[in-house]
Amino acid sequence: MKLTFGIVVFPGSNCDHDAQFVAETILGHKARLIWHKEGSLGDVDVVVLPGGFSYGDYLRCGALARFSPVMKDVVRFAASGGVVIGICNGFQVLTEAGLLPGVLLRNSSLKFVCDYVHVRVENPQTRFTGSCRPGQVLEIPIAHGEGNYFAEPDTVRKLEEDGRIVFRYCDASGTVSEEANPNGSIRSIAGIINERGNVLGMMPHPERASDPALGHTDGKKVFDSIVESFVPALV
């Protein structure tokens, strides 16, 4: 049985086809692009909110995408336990939609950063990291101007306690430091999950590091983990 990845396309999404390529060509599963005006996601197993600049980042990143018709069904899908991954702009949309806590502020450097970074797997027991080792360092690119994760101290403490900080920026050896933090994120947070563990938001782009032809494949571990998390259901 093959999984179906439903990739939501907002006006201004630009990583939608990359995600589709990874799902179909790299993973060998099925993918469908879902225009944001569709009222329903249809029959999908995984929802991807891709990177890009939905609505031109007008007002705030992700603020307007949140009101796209399809988002009602994304919220329903997430509430029913469906797997949702928001990448970069997708992460911003998830916070604006209230599916994940906190917000992505302007990078502390005020600069758009497009570079390979290292992230450390802080929790390998999620549906998105199950094929990673604890503390494994992944090299995955980022490309954003607003990736500076912020939340109230109480919220951050709760995320920490519950193991919901999934990825943290680090150096190649896995050490978390201010120097290795590309955007000023509080506690070097690069990715978090919701309470139930079925919704992930991350600023790095795993879909850009999944094809061996592009030189990096660490991002594929995120997609492999998602697929493996369905294995009991697939056999």
């Binding site: 007002l59 906190g102 917000v103 502390s108 005020l110 912020f150 939340a151 000023g184």
Partner: protein, 84 residues
């Protein structure tokens, strides 16, 4: 017809790197007296409402639901009746 003016600013507890950069620019121009700069957004609305109360409540609702994200921003507004 009513006219709303809405100001959205980053919350005081949140570092405003854009404001800091602008402040540095002012210091380079010689305006050392400027001790703090906070950047924000200014939004104007024209509202067809039956009363001031209704215009105010519409302004408040769109401010809280859409124009400002309470995790990082504060919002304030004034509403005036046009042609008065």
């Amino acid at each position: 017809m009513f006219h709303s003016k809405i100001v959205v600013t980053l919350r005081k507890s949140i570092l405003d790197p854009q404001g800091k950069a602008v402040q540095h620019g002012m210091h380079s121009l010689g305006y050392e007296a400027v001790k703090n700069v906070r950047m924000g957004k200014f939004v104007e609305l024209q509202i067809d409402a039956v009363s001031m109360e209704s215009a105010e409540s519409i302004t408040r609702e769109v401010s809280e639901k859409l124009l400002a994200n309470p995790v990082m921003e504060d919002v304030s507004f004034t509403v005036e009746e046009e042609g008065r």
